[in-house]
């Protein structure tokens, strides 16, 4: 059982992200950012489908491993967040590769900078967790491992965007 202060901090963190996301969605909708055309909407629908199955399969694998005696040494929260991040990765990688991730009025450079910043912040948090010993508790990967995973996800997305941009500029 985690301490009350840990749970409070965790709930506050999640609440902050949720409130920030809702405000960002509201502001973007007002500014007309993140509008997608018909092809992009179709591709994003397929991407959501693949992401949905990726999360389901990952959760089943984690569940089987847990039943078989914790083959994957991860905390419950870490497992669920890793599954979510795998879904996010599948959705974004598919959308980026099929030109459906960046909306019609979205500035790709600004988005790239945001991705880079998120990658750096999360990787720094993950490395800090590894160095101060909070990443592995009692031989089990704890929540700071998720920061590392999020950082890696954003790096993969950034690299894919650069590759896609290089391919597109060759084709133009």
């Amino acid at each position: 059982m985690k301490s009350t202060s840990y749970m409070m901090g965790f709930a506050l963190g999640i609440s902050f992200v949720a409130i920030f996301s809702i405000i960002a969605l509201f502001v973007n909708k007002k500014r007309g950012v993140n509008k997608y055309d018909e092809m992009q909407e179709r591709v994003r629908g397929v991407a959501y489908k693949y992401a949905f199955w990726a999360v389901i399969i990952t959760e089943i694998v984690f569940g089987i491993c847990a039943e078989a005696g914790n083959i994957i040494p991860m905390g419950v929260m870490t497992q669920h967040f890793c599954a979510i991040m795998i879904g996010v990765l599948v959705h974004v990688v598919y959308s980026v590769w099929h030109d459906a991730y960046i909306g019609l009025n979205t500035n790709p450079k600004r988005y790239g900078i945001l991705c880079g910043a998120l990658a750096v912040i999360n990787l720094a948090n993950g490395i800090r967790g590894f160095l101060n010993g909070s990443m592995i508790v009692d031989g089990v990967l704890a929540f700071p491992f998720v920061n590392l995973v999020i950082g890696l996800v954003f790096i993969i997305i950034g690299v894919e965007m650069l590759i896609k941009k290089a391919i597109d500029s060759k084709q133009e």
Binding site: D37, E38, M39, D99, Q171, E172
Partner: protein, 63 residues
């Protein structure tokens, strides 16, 4: 199948893919995908493209 008639009509109007995309309210990649035959546009987009290029639907999309 590539839509060469669309590409020719666009070039005939001296428009880039980006220009045509802006006229139709879609992304450049969507115009590129239609020209390459990777995407079948809806009738609404076909009409928008036809109007932007001063062509009929038959001239651009009917085989």
């Amino acid at each position: 199948m590539k839509n060469l008639r669309l590409k020719a009509a666009r070039a005939g109007k001296d428009l880039s893919q980006d220009d045509l995309a802006k006229l139709c309210g879609v992304s450049r990649q969507t115009i590129s995908a239609i020209e390459k035959g990777d995407y079948n546009p809806t009738i609404n987009l076909c009409i928008a493209i036809s109007k932007a290029l001063d062509k009929t639907l038959d001239e651009l999309f009917w085989e």
